[in-house]
């Protein structure tokens, strides 16, 4: 019975979404409008080869700050609900041989992949959020393998707070220097080079560290029974 009501609900939701899509004026959005303007101006104004990150961090940087705030509030609420772990509770037993050796083997490569995706966010697809999620997974797999050595929550909260402060401070510097919050600083540089696009790599580094430490702390807290 519940399964059938679920299927009926899903079909109804699909029909509703199709009806909403029919009523949208997609032609105006797809042709002309703001998209072509950003495509024209982003390389000279921001200087990042990846147009998506120039939208995320320069044109709509305030929205990214809002997203970070949403994630922060969610992580704080989870920490509040789950509470502190009492020190005398028993840990889970060690994982099997395969998971332990795979965790040791994967850790450096996942750190490298996460750092690459964060640092090249303004050149290639990716950026702070994706790289941060990979970093969090890299720090979570060793916890799964050996639960007796948990994550240091003090260090992860410190990194999280410092990264969030750095993001807002860069935005405030831009507000003082250029008159707009989170306006790109330091010029554009050569498009496609690692050190280009002004302050975008710094902002992505802050976003990546914040998301990574936040998610790693959240997962570790959920794992501690």
């Amino acid at each position: 019975m519940t399964v059938f009501s679920g299927v009926i609900f899903t079909i109804g939701l699909g029909v509703l979404l199709i009806a909403v899509m029919k009523s949208l004026i997609l032609e105006q959005v797809l042709t002309g409008g703001i998209g072509s303007i950003i495509l024209e101006q982003a390389p000279t104004e921001v200087g990042s080869a990846n147009i998506v990150s120039s939208v995320l961090l320069a044109y709509r940087g305030l929205d990214t700050l809002g997203e970070l705030t949403v994630l922060f509030v969610a992580a704080t609420a989870i920490g509040l609900v789950l509470g502190q772990r009492s020190p005398d509770t028993k840990h889970d037993s060690e994982a099997g041989f395969i998971l332990r050796s795979a965790a040791d083997l994967l850790f450096p490569f996942m750190i490298m992949l996460g750092a690459y995706i964060i640092l090249h966010g303004h050149i290639t697809p990716g950026g702070g959020f994706q790289g941060g999620a990979i970093l969090a997974a890299a720090f979570f797999i060793p916890i799964l393998a050996s639960p007796a050595s948990p994550l240091n929550h003090k260090v992860s909260s410190l990194i999280e707070g410092l990264a969030g402060t750095a993001f807002i401070l860069i935005g405030l510097f831009a507000l003082v220097g250029k008159g707009y919050f989170l306006a790109p600083l330091f010029g554009t540089g050569d498009i496609g080079a690692l050190f280009s696009a002004g302050s975008l790599p710094l902002l992505y580094l802050a976003v990546g560290l914040k998301v990574g430490s936040e998610l790693a702390g959240l997962l570790a807290r959920l794992q501690e029974v």
Partner: protein, 82 residues
């Protein structure tokens, strides 16, 4: 070629989405949801949105499935057998 890949990923998405509904085991539903996210990320690559595909693969298929699975363990719905 591209159309074929898109078709295959859409079929996998539909199948795993129904599997989420019909599985008796909650853990199996979480795994099916993760498979759906992975197929969706392939579809995003075909649609030339690599940024979104990376997000979907890292957050949708990775972190959110782990969060759901850990929550199942927390509230005592983690079953080894169905």
């Amino acid at each position: 070629m591209l159309f074929g890949i898109a078709l295959i990923s859409i079929i996998i998405m539909l199948g795993s989405a129904f599997a989420v509904l019909f599985f008796e085991n909650y853990l199996a539903s979480v795994v099916a949801l993760s498979v759906m996210s992975l197929a969706l990320s392939v579809l995003f690559v075909v649609l030339q949105a690599p940024d979104v595909a990376l997000t979907e693969a890292a957050v949708g298929a990775g972190v959110s499935s782990v969060i759901l699975a850990l929550t199942l363990r927390r509230i005592g719905l983690w079953q080894d057998k169905s």
